[in-house]
């Protein structure tokens, strides 16, 4: 695949990795692979916006060389410190040692703490402009979208926004644009990215989008640092972000559980049936058979969470503990939850789940349902009704 000219003299020069399955260590399952998007602007000052993950440097360099010799790069815009975008920066600086790097103050500090390079770095702030010749760039600091150093870069002449990780998706394809791929898959990956990475920062995202609207930025193309470029309908992803950032949900319930000998699973199935019969959309996940990344994505637009675990050592099982620890960090808002599970003697899992829900600021909508050993007919009926009761509470919230 060649470099792709996304606007006159602005080229995608990134790398595509269709094989990567684990990202951010093991915190994100990239079932469709990912891309690292870097962009080159040809002008009096030849400018590279972001780079790629270090091991993919050669792929980016090959694409750059289709257009220019990398040694000719004058400016490098570092929108974000993280290694998947800065990994090839040391190589670029070796090839173009006189290039000047631009980024936020925190980016300068962070890049130094990664690579210890003695590079010519100019700190930029929101509103600062840089002339490249026919093009110019405007910088917009975007702290916690998704690290403190993050920044958006905007090219007003071509109306292209380079928001780095915001609006991105882990989606490796030979296509580069939103109108060339399946729209449902694209939004699925965008939601997965938001839910697993950006969910905690909703309030900042709302303010950032407001800020962009206030300065009347006109956007033809959103060119993020991962996945597909939004050119057909950039408003679609902005509106989706607005909805997610407001924690808007629908009357949908996620039942996620961990089971030892199947009793907790029996309860899960019955209460899911109760929810379904009450007319509420429900998705059921045995968290040991599911990708956490996918379950979290499904929770993003779900009003209710029902979480279950068998009791083990007077507590919930370890995979559920890890799952809830992750969920707590995402700080979901405006949700309703409850807990269930089977136990043998003293119990404990239900209380532990309720405790972490409370710590996460998630409202516990009804008392937990605990069943000793294997549920009998009446306890299965109780599980079914428990689902129905929760469905009523969810409907009352709508």
């Amino acid at each position: 695949m060649s470099a792709v000219e996304i606007k006159k003299d602005i080229f995608w020069v990134g790398a595509v990795d269709g094989n990567i399955r684990n990202f951010h260590g093991y915190t994100y399952t990239t079932s469709r692979g990912t891309t690292y998007n870097a962009y080159l602007i040809l002008d009096e000052k030849i400018t590279l916006i972001d780079t790629v993950y270090g091991p993919d440097s050669d792929e980016m360099l090959d694409r750059l060389r289709q257009i220019i010799e990398p040694s000719k790069i004058d400016y490098v815009i570092a929108n974000h410190v993280e290694g998947d975008h800065s990994g090839a920066l040391p190589e670029i600086m070796k090839l173009a040692p006189n290039a000047k790097v631009f980024g936020t103050a925190k980016c300068k500090d962070g890049l130094y703490k990664h690579y210890y390079g003695n590079w010519d770095f100019q700190v930029v702030k929101t509103g600062d402009k840089l002339s490249l010749g026919r093009h110019s760039l405007t910088f917009i600091e975007a702290p916690m979208l998704h690290w403190p150093d993050s920044m958006f870069t905007y090219c007003p002449e071509e109306k292209v926004l380079f928001p780095n990780d915001a609006f991105g998706q882990h989606y490796a394809t030979s296509a580069r644009y939103d109108d060339e791929v399946d729209g449902a898959v694209l939004m699925d990956e965008a939601a997965k990215y938001y839910a697993n990475i950006l969910w905690p920062f909703g309030s900042l995202i709302l303010r950032k989008i407001e800020e962009l609207q206030k300065i009347n930025i006109v956007i033809d193309i959103i060119a993020p640092s991962h996945g597909i470029i939004w050119r057909k309908d950039p408003a679609k992803i902005i509106n989706a972000y607005l909805s997610w950032a407001k924690n808007e949900t629908k009357g949908k319930v996620i039942v996620a559980y961990e089971t030892m000998w199947g009793a907790t699973q029996m309860m899960a199935r019955k209460l899911a049936l109760g929810l379904t019969d009450a007319g509420v959309e429900v998705k059921v996940f045995d968290i040991n058979q599911s990708e956490r990344t996918e379950v979290i994505k499904d929770m993003l637009d779900a009003k209710g969470f029902i979480l279950g675990s068998s009791t083990h050592d007077n507590d919930m099982l370890p995979a559920m503990a890890g799952f809830l620890h992750f969920l707590k960090g995402l700080k979901p808002k405006n949700r309703l939850a409850c807990a269930f599970g089977s136990y043998g003697w003293s119990g404990g899992a239900v209380k532990s789940i309720e405790k972490i829900l409370q710590e996460a600021g998630i409202e516990v909508g009804q008392p937990g349902l605990a069943v000793r050993y294997v549920p009998d007919e009446s306890e299965l009926k109780r599980s079914y009704e428990y689902g129905m009761d929760f469905a009523k509470a969810i409907k009352a919230k709508e």
Binding site: E141, P143, M144, P148, P200, F201, S203, L204, K331
Partner: protein
Amino acid sequence: MDKYRCTVCGYIYDPQIGDPASGIKLGTAFEDLPNSWACPECGAPKESFEKVKGE
């Protein structure tokens, strides 16, 4: 004087340190920070902070 934690990024405002980079002197209580003050790590506004309990 109480410490306050940024609910967005986890930064802790400690009055015993202040926020010298933003011109906030040591000994300034969280309540006395100007409304224009924002989290020095992530830029979240003052209302995004909560009191640190049990310290």
